[in-house]
Amino acid sequence: MASNILLSYVHKDSYFHKIDPSTKLLITVLVILLTFILKNYIHIMILLLFIFPIGIKSKVLRMVFRPVSQLFLIFILLFIIQGLFYPLATDKLMDLPFGFTLWKDGLINAANVGSRLLVMMVFGFWFVLTTHPGDLVSSLRKIGLPNALGYIMITTLQMIPRIQSQMKTIIDAQKSRGLETTGNLIKKFKSYLPLLGPLFMGSVQQAVEKSMALEARAFSSDCPKTNYRKTTIHLKDKIIMICAVALSIIGVILSWTL
């Protein structure tokens, strides 16, 4: 299921691909903050509407929603669990067979949590899809991001597709040794356990090797660093940032007064 989620930068010639990564990061951070400040799922879903013009202008709208659709099951599960077992439930919606009760406040809580998750994911994906990791680090370094943190960001952004392909290699290897990775859920879960070993053992070994590779390239030298990829904050970036902050403040005030 997870194997065809593609979560890395996709090169496109679009307006939002060209603006500075810091601008996009600010938009994403503001949206995530808003999902926490706004208390009502209707307000949060209004926030979601913004992804449509932005996504279309970035030419990645479908790609943004593809991973969401693959996590659809999780959202269903959220509603079932919260609807039936919400611990603070007081407001009954209806009785169900076998002594279960569907709680209205449970469903509302699920909607709040779910919409928050949805908005965060959608904007997070949008950011990752439109922002080249190299540009992001280059841009953030200019405003004081430490070298080591920059490296961690770059590798993390590349890690998801890498881990996916590693998982596949390990699964293939284990399968060739007779491991079952199909069957019912419990069986499946059990059979995936032996895969974690190689994945994490490999990671520790890799971490040591990577740090040798980094040091061999003067990574922790004291000289001031330069960037291979050029990024500049233009006037339009500043305008977008100011608009984004202003819109957020207006949004918060509206949501409090309405």
């Binding site: 930068y9 080249h132 990791p133 190299g134 070298n147 490296y151 770059i154 590798t155 590349q158 890498r162 040591v208 090797e209 990577k210 740090s211 040798m212 590779a213 980094l214 040091e215 061999a216 390239r217 003067a218 990574f219 922790s220 030298s221 000289c223 001031p224 660093k225 330069t226 960037n227 291979y228 990829r229 050029k230």
Partner: protein, 281 residues
Amino acid sequence: MDIITYKNFSWRYSGYKGWTLHNINLSIKKGEFIGIIGKIGSGRTTFCSSMLGLIPHFYPGTMQGEIIINGLNVKKSKIADLSKCVGLAFQSPANQLTGAGTTVEEELAFGLQNLGVPYEEMHKRVDDMLNLIGLEKFRKRSPFELSGGQQQKVAIASVLIMNPNILVLDEPTSQLDPLGTEQVFDLIKKLSKTGITIMISTNNVDYLSRFADRIILFDNKIVKIDTPKKILTDINLLKKHSLTHSNITEVSLRLKKMNLSKKELAIDFAELKKEIEEIMK
């Protein structure tokens, strides 16, 4: 002036009995081309790692003696500082890739970013290097999606681009095809002419006999340091260390066995030619 000095250097990996390298004494002059040979497990990779300080800084173990590289005491220096004068191409090229670049060109630029090379110069050096190693077509590809041989070229290029005084190559052609091997050795020879010091671990004696100024034979210690002529024609010594001599030496050996020639064994084509010309007379 000596650019590399080893004084009574010994190294033991922690948890292992016995020295992996024992009592190494060595002086290398600036601009020398040194071949490092020895059988598997003779400590060549360990020796190469010690020139950049990965030994002792990254591996647990016991070190004795002293290593001075380009005036820096390895034990007291940061690897990042040593890396400004020593370029080490690892034995397995995949380990050289930092992942800090999403593409080949960014991977090459990584060291330059860390050295603070200005934007314009950095791009020029990356372009030149891609040209030099013949990987322009692959500049936008992920380095993790290259073949072993291509990765090997990227790995060598990634340290070479930093303009080191000393280039240490640990079996740099192990994954290359004959043409790729030829290209890499030609490149190394060209570099050597510019005055940089080359330390190359390879059992490819055909190339060493042509290019090396001196050869070090390792077997957990230095068995012998001498000219290619002295070492690569000592067939019994080579055999003892699971090594073979070059094809040219083999021809010369057969001529001798046929009692056609009484000269010492030839090591390169010029010598062999002379030998044959004398026989023809």
